[in-house]
């Protein structure tokens, strides 16, 4: 969420947050009608950002056209082709906890959107009527939240979030001076959906590497690595050599396991590689063993005649 989406007929806006259809519990992405329209194929990235039907189709829109008379919402759902296509967290913000139906003047707010990313603002009006230029005509909407300017074109569809990670509104319009949002309760009610809650934050692992001195064959304790950014775990990596000494041309096996530091569950890694000066570097291989176990064969080009280090490096899909 917080990233570029569009329908095949529009340019690009923002995926706001995840909601569930009340009728069948179906997971959907919330955005604006003028971003997704109604009954159209939807793309992520949006069309303006290079999205095409062949490579970026993620679902179909179900929207409420904003009539010339206005109303109080500009909203649409992206009904996902598969729940696995989305992450529940809003980029740079996290997973919304709930909704806040009581915005107040002066309240500090933020949003994460396709064009300006994470921005902050302050509520200046909680009961506004505003005429918005849609390009094909002016529509006057009511019961809107106004904030200080915190958006540009392409941020439409962003969720307006309070300081406690509750959703207050759905950004849809703005100028150089203000940003305009529909109230979240009006949006959820119009679309017959509720905020999707109880979703799990995805766990991200930092790349990790350890060094195995040749003279020691046991898996060894390394000094703790620097703390990764919050929300990213440093996985536990253990590795050892299979023998104490090797002859030239002999197969050398580095084996070990990569696990979650808290749960000890084995991890799927994108790539693992071992290397050492004077030795063939192993090709990157993936780890898919459910216990996170791996073994990397290396050929000793010459018998090691001095202490040396073997470095084992692991990276994960989506590494920051």
């Amino acid at each position: 969420m917080g990233v570029s989406i569009s329908s095949v007929q529009t340019t690009a806006g923002t995926a706001g947050c995840l909601v569930k259809r009340k009728s069948d519990g179906k997971l959907c992405v919330l955005s604006n009608w003028h971003v997704l329209k109604d009954q159209e194929a939807c793309l992520q990235q949006g069309k303006r950002d290079g999205g095409s039907f062949s490579g970026n189709f993620v679902g179909t829109s179900q929207g409420i056209p904003v009539p010339p008379s206005g109303g109080n919402v500009d909203c649409s759902l992206l009904v996902l082709d598969s729940d696995a296509l989305v992450r529940p967290d809003i980029l740079e913000l996290g997973i919304p906890k709930g909704i806040n139906t009581n915005p107040t003047q002066g309240m500090k707010v933020k949003k994460s959107g396709r064009t300006t990313g994470l921005t902050e603002g302050e509520i200046t009006d909680t009961h506004a009527v505003i005429s918005v230029d849609y390009g094909d005509g002016i529509r006057t909407l009511e019961d809107l939240i106004l904030t200080t300017a915190m958006s540009q074109g392409g941020d439409s569809g962003s969720a307006l979030i309070d300081e406690n990670m509750n959703v207050l509104g759905l950004l849809f319009a703005g100028s150089d001076a203000i940003t305009v949002h529909c109230k979240i309760q009006n949006v959820l009610s119009a679309l017959q959906v509720e905020l999707a809650t109880g979703l799990q934050e995805p766990v991200w692992y930092s790349p990790v590497a350890i060094v195995i001195p040749y003279s020691i064959s046991a898996g060894l304790a390394m000094p703790p690595p620097p703390a990764p950014p919050s929300g990213i775990k440093t996985p536990q990596l253990k590795a050892s050599l299979d023998k104490q000494s090797y002859k030239a041309g002999e197969k050398m096996l580095i084996s070990g396991a990569i696990t979650d530091p808290d749960t000890q569950a084995g991890l799927d890694a994108r790539g693992i590689q071992a290397r050492s000066a004077g030795f063939s570097t192993s090709p990157w291989q993936s780890i898919s063993d459910k216990d996170g176990k791996f073994s990397i064969p290396m050929i000793t080009l010459k018998a090691p005649d001095q202490d040396m280090d073997f470095t084992v490096e692991i990276s994960f899909a989506g590494d920051p």
Binding site: H34, R48, D49, V129, G153, F172
Partner: protein
């Protein structure tokens, strides 16, 4: 902060919103803000694209100092557009 009466909202919709450059209003009264300071006077906020001196605009587009008995506060907000990325062109 008081909600405007129905007849006040109707008047603003039918008369004030028809004036050139007016893009919105607040349906609740606000305290007036003068030179960055809050003054204890309830006003009805009228949002306009650009503020201008009364003698620079047509007489029929001038916003009355008092609307249905409530002092008006004209706030400049610029041109408000739907913010899909077509607006970046």
């Amino acid at each position: 902060m008081t909600h405007l009466a129905d007849d006040q909202i109707t008047f603003i919709n039918d008369v004030i919103m028809k004036k050139s450059g007016v893009v919105g209003f607040s349906v609740v009264t606000q305290k007036r803000v003068k030179a960055g300071k809050v003054v204890d006077v309830d006003v009805v906020r009228i949002y306009v694209k650009r503020k201008a001196k009364p003698d620079a605009i047509k007489p029929e587009d001038v916003i009355d100092a008092t609307i249905m008995g409530i002092p008006s506060d004209v706030v400049e907000v610029g041109e408000i557009v739907a913010q899909n990325s077509a607006r970046l062109d």
